[in-house]
Symmetry: C2
């Protein structure tokens, strides 16, 4: 497969070469920036710094511009100040900001003072925005032209400045007097337009899409992906362009979002650092919160079981099926929840559709419950017949109790699991916080009550 | 917030207007294609077809090119053949292919015969590829130029054909003799290059990245996102360009992948249709498979409990804490699994790092277990002190048993949950199939054994 013709260096090779970063740099200089970044991630910070120093300047800058390059901040601790300043100035503005968010405060002001005034000014503006907002991922290097320029003049300008801009494929047309954004042109619009036309007349007259610096970055990602944009302008309250967000940033944001969602569904507060790097105590804190909350909820199972202590004492055989029955409810519940969460995220299902979902989940849950109930009954009858276990003289009744309880619990699990995301959204929470463990806890308590109530009705006069 | 200046039409408005699709079309024609597609999704197929027919031709084509537009196939059943053919021919090739995958076979050949030979030929080639491969999402409308053209001539060619190509930002430079791909240029490369230079000399000499039509589409998405490409060529075995995949396609693929992952983690086979549209029986089938597998695994809990029937009969109080203890193990397990799955997907953790993960999870699990164990002991002592429940004369021993069991089960859950993705990957499965319910099932059985073994040791001579 011709996919990546420049294979990543093996760890063996890296270990061999780590003593000689110059030699490693020579090998890496034939590679793509993303691959070099991956290779450097596997080295200690100091060796990484020496490799970067040995690379051709343009490639080093490109490598530093990769969001995949880890702990840039610590690498810069090992780079000489005089070598660091030109590298940083050549980086794109959004990556500069990311770097300064990471460097230890001890060297931060030293590095900052080595930069030229323009870079420093832009950087200070970017650093004012929180990283989870659009302002925190935008870059200031966009192509902006006055609206009275011609297409020809704009294309010549792009040819001049194109090398240093984050993207040249979206051109931001500003009012020549007050510099407010008037229109956004794609380079394609300009390429196919007559060269002598005014740039403003070469594009559609629609008010351009834009966001504010405090817009959540997920919202910017949603707009870029829905309208297939290559870049989205970030405006201040007077309509001036502060910066732009590009489609590359959006992909990175989506990867982050995917991570958050999976972690949330697994019942962990989203980690904001790579798994192997997050300090031990931070990780325990992030996990303990949810785990304790679930534990407190699950304590209700002990209370519920306590109410049925007499029944259990009379018919210990009932206790044997407790884990089987409540876990089946939890499993069908987390299935239903994961389906509904995704359907909501994709806008396939809205808040007002709750009854349509309920109308699907009721028969689905019943059908699944009947299937599991049937298997459960067969299992008990089979074990009794073979003689692997003795469920007592009333074993057919025990089997029937388990079967009916499974139908009830699985149906309830599907209903509860599918309705929970609606409830969460209605009261203003993210439906994705309906994690699998949360649903399971909810269903466990109710499942016990359903099971023992059915047993109480079905076994009264025989076992109970 | 200036985000979307054209608000989506409210459902009320749509219902008001659905009797008059011409009027609706007039309103929609001022909107963006993605918003129109969303509006049409809320209409019955026939009304959607009439709205499309009422839109200006270019906008109708743009709307049909939105991957978000649902059941295009059924909409086309209501469009006159003579009106359909020009619409289809103007659509981009990848969306044509998607449309023909959806249209009922009854009208498929009728529509196909109305298309011109060139479109039909390209379409038949695209339809040969499975939708989950790169060939299934590629499009054939790319800008290809012979490598002996100058930059000037290439730019003039783009100005001519730019309107009808999927993207003009990646230019595919082909050998003039055998049409093999030699190089990929970005439009930026050409814009900043001298106009009289040969196009091949305006770009880097690296072998271009490419994929084959049978490459999984996730792999194409990974390459585009890692190397920040705008388009990736799909080559046949002789090195000819069959088509291209663009960054927009990648975003759609990532959304799909996100859905699959969440569904898998919830313990459902990935649905290939929207939740509200998948037929009842298909949904039950997709869910029943996993649910039955988990149920069979969970049956082992009944077997495990059976081994301790005597202990339960002697000390019914032990049964009360069974759900609490096993669910705590399951919860800590699904936390650990979700963390490790994501760390693997982001390449933060590799197969050989398993012992480093284990070395982190062991202390984490122990700490979390101690926290939950402490809460559990307090709960029992408190209930006893207040008089809400009577755990018998040996209640301090019962509390201690529950506490120690929690430490053991939570530690085991964290270890098992974190190691399972490694085991799955090692034996060749997708680590993401380590769903939360799967982990919970695994931990339930073991958790029971741990609990009753600890109880056996600690309570012998008193309760047992």
């Amino acid at each position: 497969m011709p996919a990546t013709e420049t294979p990543s260096p093996t760890p063996e090779l890296l270990h061999l070469l780590v003593g000689d970063p110059e030699e490693l740099a020579a090998i890496l200089s034939g590679m793509r920036a993303a691959d070099v970044a991956e290779a450097i991630n596997q080295l200690p910070d100091e060796a990484g710094a020496r490799v970067l120093a040995g690379l051709p300047f343009d490639l080093a800058v490109e490598v530093l511009d990769q969001p995949e390059l880890e702990h840039k901040g610590r690498i810069f601790e090992h780079i000489d100040k005089d070598a660091a300043a030109p590298l940083i100035e050549a980086m794109s503005a959004d990556e500069q900001a990311d770097l300064f968010r990471e460097v230890p405060t001890s060297i931060r002001s030293r590095l900052m003072s080595a930069l030229d005034a323009g870079t420093r000014h832009a950087l200070e503006m970017l650093l004012r925005h929180a990283p989870e907002t659009t302002g925190g991922i935008m870059t200031t290097e966009y192509v902006g032209v006055p609206s009275d320029w011609t297409v020809e003049r704009t294309l010549r300008y792009i040819a001049e400045v194109g090398r240093v801009k984050e993207t040249v494929y979206a051109i931001f047309i500003e009012n020549p007097r007050d510099r407010r954004l008037e229109q956004v042109a794609s380079l394609r619009d300009l390429m196919i337009a007559p060269r002598d036309r005014r740039v403003l007349d070469a594009v559609s007259r629609r008010v351009p899409l834009s966001v504010r610096p405090d817009t959540p970055r997920e919202e910017a990602a949603r707009i870029i992906s829905k309208y297939n944009l290559l870049a989205l302008p970030v405006l201040d309250e007077r309509g001036h362009v502060l910066g732009i967000v590009t489609v590359d940033d959006v992909i990175d944001t989506m990867v982050q979002e995917l991570t958050d969602d999976v972690q949330k569904f697994g019942g962990v507060e989203a980690l904001d650092q790579p798994y192997m790097e997050i300090p031990f105590l931070s990780m325990v804190r992030k996990r303990a919160g949810w785990l304790c909350a679930l534990f407190l909820g699950e304590m209700l199972t002990a209370t519920a079981m306590g109410h049925f202590e007499n029944e259990i004492a009379k018919a210990v055989v009932l206790a044997l099926f407790v884990p089987l029955i409540i876990s089946s409810g939890g499993n069908s519940g987390s299935q239903a929840t994961s389906l509904v969460i995704r359907a909501m995220a994709l806008h396939e299902v809205r808040l007002r559709d709750w009854w349509r979902v309920a109308a699907r989940e009721l028969p689905s849950g019943l059908t699944l419950g009947v299937i599991l109930g049937f298997i459960g009954i067969c299992r008990i009858l089979l074990w009794q017949a073979i003689g692997w276990y003795d469920y007592g003289t009333h074993y057919p009744l025990v089997a029937l109790t388990v079967g009916v309880a499974l139908i009830g619990v699985v149906t309830f699990g599907s209903m509860a699991g599918s309705m929970l995301p609606f409830v969460l959204r209605r009261i203003g929470f993210d439906p994705a916080s309906a994690s699998a463990p949360f649903v399971a806890t909810l269903v466990d308590v109710t499942g016990l009550v359903i099971y023992f109530s059915i047993a109480y009705v079905m076994l009264r006069g025989t076992l109970l």
